[in-house]
Symmetry: C2
Subunit: 444 residues, 2 copies
């Protein structure tokens, strides 16, 4: 029997992830010690209520309500409480006492990341967060280490399982958004209050973390452009399918050039987009996550797997635990979070992409020419136009004031600012009744 | 301007990967220094001939034919010569002089890995090899670090781009193997002598490396079971498509139980297999690579990208370079390669999977019953049978001695040893003319 140096591990939180971490750590402790070169002694699990129901059995003597007391004296602290406070204070206490910290807390990192990384660097400790983005999928370490010698051009991620489940149901089962959301709630893929998921807040936090890491630049959460999926209609999903696309909620982090100054910067954004069916991201079904990376030298890469779940997230936490333990055995300070590129964060107006716009227009001669002129005046070049005459009654059976037609216009690559000016002009044009759909096209 | 500590980097070899590493290092040296925390001074590039043509420009003063002289005094040595010798001796010299070593040499690792890792551990140096498997796809670090807290159950990899290109052409363009190989050669996806690729030797080396890493066990190359794709016919590929499968050359590393002793062990093997069209690996087209991992906690993961190419491989080498530089800055010994699980390597006979077997049989009453009995006697349970009467003339127009029929039999999960006994019995059965196809089914 080899005698290992002993490392004291404290866990904060015993929710679905915390309970699984405890269970796996107790079950595979010997194996993890062999891989780490250090014994991993679980000294306690801090919880709010000792008697709350847990998803996995935790030995009673490990539970404590004294988180601060547990943190002092621990070599490695695993924060799985979630939310901003007290998670932030606990992590700062742990780092300041020299402990390495492992967290799965994306909200905290996206909001207070720089403060936490700074605290870690001050004392030479390390803050690990593989579990904060796309749960079990190794994405932080590949970006931070494997691709550290390359230049990332763009990241497109399906990083929210709830919205991917809903959009996939709309696409494959023909359900409406409301019905697909109800199914997601029923199956446990959506929370009772689904706002954070369906409005894209969760994806935006992950976009901020990915953009910061990929471009060595602090990207605060409030600089991430965000649209959720609540505006996506079954008609849009159907039209997308017919045109060879699928609608996916994408978190995009991209190296861009500022249109005004010509300076290089970073764009981070979240919106539902049309993805060609041939793109690897189009094959990501159900609640699965995937992160597609375009790098200058490596070319296209994709990382695919479970983006949520207690035991899946626990896998990432335990990987970080082995890394932290190895670092303690080797000694020396942690690797500081690299933000030295410090690129400007560019607003959405700088984004260049293709767009698909649906309009209902009055059915009279010269309309197409008028609309084509309007695009051209704003510097947006049209690639495809499809026109269909709509019936003169609406779905409720009421006769429409003006007989209408539907136009679906696909553009060449254009800038977001030119496009929004075009849409504003369309909205105030006499021949346009309504801009019924406006979606960006990504990955083509 | 920050003053960094300077690290001396020596490169051995200036082929397509080496030339790209030099070019990227000279171009992005400042960025890499920022990310590493150390200046990366390229002190020289060892080549056999100073005047050989190169795929990228290398400043003349960096070239030398004195590899040994270059290695002495380098902090980090990048070996990109390939082959067993002199690469092995150079790496040992470098490690013994305390340098970290980065290599893309899969043949060397699969053959002399344990000796090299042992040498590194003795002096506290580190041997990096992200580029040795699947080029640009980060797979070594995810397995070694991200999944270090999990238990890998199985890895299935498309790790040879040449054979994937050929099988994909057969499937999507209906080409024969010979024609697809000719296309691959023409497009530069196959070497003049394609043996290492199409006979599965290259994939077997990668299977040995992946199995060693995933199961913390030394898996020598000669313990990897290997079949190439040269026996795969267009008829098999067509039949697979009709049945909802695609034929892929898979490198498989799996945790198995020894059928005799009940002891847990490792199986590493390479063979063409039927993969269901719905499996993520089925969507890996052309010369792309992908590694699919099943882990106990993380569930299913897939890593996808370019598996070859000068600049793509250079991306992985430079990622290792940044890691090596960070380690030098931090100090302390490298992390030793973990082989402490030391599981037994199990022969192919222990593998349990499903099989699809095609037979031509004599067309007479009672044949199906005879054959079904024969499977049953060997403990193999039949799941599906499809029968078609073949014409009484063969493709050359000759009249067959006995009118024949074709049987396609799909089995339930069975052991390789029971299956090979069954096939041997089929081959000597009076009612069987020929076993025309025998493929394993994986990923279902």
């Amino acid at each position: 029997m080899i005698e290992y140096r002993n490392l004291r591990v404290a866990i904060l939180g015993a929710g679905s992830v915390g309970a699984q971490v405890v269970s796996l750590l107790l079950k595979h402790g010997d194996e993890l010690a062999q891989r780490s070169g250090a014994g991993l002694e679980l000294v306690g699990v801090a919880v709010r209520e000792l008697d709350a129901p847990r998803s996995a059995q935790i030995p009673r003597h490990l539970l404590t309500t004294d988180a601060e007391g547990l943190i002092v004296g621990a070599d490695i602290v695993i924060e799985l409480i979630g939310g901003l406070e007290p998670a932030r204070s606990f992590i700062l206490t742990a780092l300041n006492s020299g402990a390495d910290v492992i967290t799965a807390n994306k909200a905290l990192l996206a909001t207070h990341g720089p403060e936490l990384f700074e605290a870690a660097e001050q004392v030479g400790a390390q803050l690990y967060y593989e579990a904060a983005v796309a749960a079990a999928i190794p994405i932080i370490r590949p970006l931070r280490d494997s691709l550290a010698g390359d230049r990332i051009v763009r990241i497109m991620g399906i990083v929210n399982g709830t919205t991917n489940f809903i959009l996939d149901r709309m696409d494959t089962a023909g359900e409406t958004l409301e019905s697909a959301l109800a199914t997601a709630t029923e199956l446990g893929y959506a929370e009772a209050d689904p706002t954070a998921d369906i409005e894209g807040y969760d994806a935006a936090q992950k976009a901020a973390i990915l953009a910061s890491l990929a471009f060595h630049t602090t990207v605060p959460i409030d600089r991430v452009y965000r649209e959720g999926i609540t505006g996506v209609t079954i008609e849009e999903v159907d039209a997308a399918r017919k045109a060879g696309y699928v609608v996916k909620l994408l978190a995009i982090a991209e190296r861009l050039t500022d249109r005004e100054t010509g300076v290089e910067g970073v764009s981070a954004r979240v919106y539902p987009a049309l993805v060609p069916r041939t793109h690897p991201l189009a094959a990501v079904h159900g609640a699965k996550n995937a992160v597609f990376i375009e790098a200058e030298a490596a070319g296209d890469l994709m990382f695919y797997g479970a983006g949520a779940g207690g035991i899946e997230t626990a896998s990432a936490v335990l990987g970080d635990l082995v890394s932290a333990a190895r670092r303690h055995v080797i000694g020396g300070p942690g690797v500081a979070e690299s933000t030295n590129a410090n690129l400007p964060i560019l607003p959405i107006s700088n984004v260049q992409t293709r767009y698909q716009i649906s309009l209902s227009v009055v059915d009279q001669p010269g309309v197409l020419a008028a609309i084509a002129n309007l695009f051209s005046e704003h510097g947006v070049s049209i690639e495809t136009v499809e026109q269909s005459v709509s019936s003169t009654t609406n779905l409720a059976g009421e006769t429409l004031a003006t007989p209408g037609a539907t136009l679906v216009i696909g553009t060449h690559e254009a800038s977001e600012s030119d496009l929004s000016a075009t849409v504003a002009a369309l909205n105030s044009s006499a021949v346009v009744q309504n801009v019924t759909s406006f979606l960006r096209v990504e990955g083509s």
